[in-house]
């Protein structure tokens, strides 16, 4: 089989699941699951990851659509922020008796 149609015997694709625990919080990655399509992935995510009201909203995304930074580039990719200590408030010395700073 060389065409685009996935074989019916193939494993269901892998989805990554993100859950918003409650209003006011970000969606957080909780794990993954297999589903035949997007709708089924949402339903399975509800059953697998929110059996005890752990969420008010679910995102699912096919794992093969995620672009990630490579662990091999770890140092060069994050290097730009490494030497910019002046981005942190603690870089600035302010006398202790100056209020509300």
């Amino acid at each position: 089989m060389t065409d685009e149609q996935p074989s019916v015997r193939a494993e269901w694709p892998l989805y990554e699941v993100f859950v918003r625990g409650k209003r006011g919080l970000n969606h957080v990655h909780v794990g993954s699951l297999h589903a035949a399509d997007d709708q089924m992935a949402v339903r399975h995510a509800r059953d697998v990851y929110t059996r005890r009201n752990e969420g008010v909203s679910i995102w699912v995304v096919r794992a093969d659509l995620i672009t990630a930074s490579s662990p091999d580039e770890k140092d060069p990719l994050f290097a730009p922020s490494g030497d910019k200590v002046y981005r942190h408030p603690t870089f600035y010395a302010i006398p202790a008796d100056v209020p509300h700073m």
Binding site: Q5, R9, E11, L14, H34, D37
Partner: protein, 322 residues
């Protein structure tokens, strides 16, 4: 531009080891020694299979639970175990082993699961005893694994542990209810505890001097405690619970040792344990046959869902029709 040389194995290993030494977590895309990956796949797969096979002994009693309340509880508990299996398969897949592959290995008998699930559930009291002792032993094993060195495994264990406490409590409550019942019911509880006590102690694995992989697993931070440590911890936790329940644990050597500030206890029948591990326990064949049948009987559902997904994703025509 200069091409930076490929970091050699030595450097990669050093980076890996310093992550472990800092008590930091290894994440899926990090370099890791092949032995570390293999050990994890083996351990997580065995753990996942245990959750999945573990549904069978109790699932047996769902339709025969004595009340709607007990039935709803047992159904929820068994559903949780399915969830635990899925969290763990999901963690295992981050190591590059697919769930299908793991399932196939399980039904081919090529991968193991906990020996405890090869014992039968002969009476309804077993549902309570399993919750109390088997889930109790599982909790003892799993709590330290929340700090295991492989990130996805630890995160799965945190989810699992949050849910296990309900399992143990519902079992203990069930037994308490029976102990307040008739003499016959109390006898059922004692008989059940007599059957499950020793197999529960075997859940922690062989004694330390017969567990050759423990040292390496602990050096890698995969395991945090030895089998015998955890077994001791379980015995010490369970003795007062048995007393409160009013049952006797079937071990004449079980006694408090003031000097060690711990209980002394007898030796499980390790020959029996080896037999069960080898596939000769009372229910090994039945458990695998059932899992295989469920997998094969479900094939048409998986295929139909794939066919449906392919159809609904076909461009234009299908959407125009509706």
């Amino acid at each position: 531009m200069t091409v930076s040389p490929q970091p050699d194995e030595r450097e990669l290993l050093e980076a890996f080891e310093s992550t472990i030494d800092r008590n930091d977590r290894i994440e899926p895309r990090d370099w890791m020694p092949e032995g570390y990956r293999k050990t994890l796949v083996r351990q997580i797969a065995q753990h996942a299979h245990s959750e999945i096979i573990g549904m069978q002994p109790e699932g047996n009693w769902i339709t025969r639970a004595p009340s709607l309340r007990r039935k709803a509880i047992l159904l929820a508990k068994v559903q949780d175990e399915a969830g635990h299996g899925l969290y763990l398969y999901s963690a295992c897949e981050t190591l590059g082993t697919s769930r299908t592959e793991l399932t196939e290995k399980l039904i081919a008998g090529a991968q193991k699961y906990s020996s405890i699930f090869n014992y039968p559930t002969l009476s309804y009291a077993d549902v309570g005893t399993i919750g109390w002792l088997v889930d109790g032993a599982a909790i003892c094993n799993q709590v330290p694994l929340c700090r295991t060195s492989f990130g996805p495994y630890g995160r799965a264990m945190i989810r699992v542990c949050k849910e296990e406490s309900f399992h143990q409590r519902q079992g203990y409550e069930l037994l308490m209810t029976m102990m307040r019942g008739t003499d016959e019911q109390r006898a059922m509880v004692q008989e059940s505890v007599d059957r499950f006590w020793w197999p529960s102690l075997m859940m922690f694995g062989p004694p330390d001097d017969d567990s050759p992989n423990t040292a390496q697993s602990m050096a890698w931070g995969i395991k945090r405690n030895t089998n015998d440590d955890l077994r001791q911890r379980f015995v010490d936790m369970t003795v007062p619970q048995a007393k409160a329940l009013g049952v006797t644990l079937p071990d004449p050597d079980l006694v408090w040792n003031e000097e060690r500030r711990a209980h002394d206890f007898g030796t499980p029948d390790w020959a029996e344990f080896q037999q069960v591990i080898k596939g000769n326990g009372p229910c090994n064949a039945q458990r695998i046959a059932h899992r295989r049948k469920a997998h094969e009987d479900g094939a048409w559902v998986r295929e139909a869902a794939m066919a449906f997904a392919a159809r609904t994703h076909e461009p234009e025509e299908t959407t125009h029709d509706r």
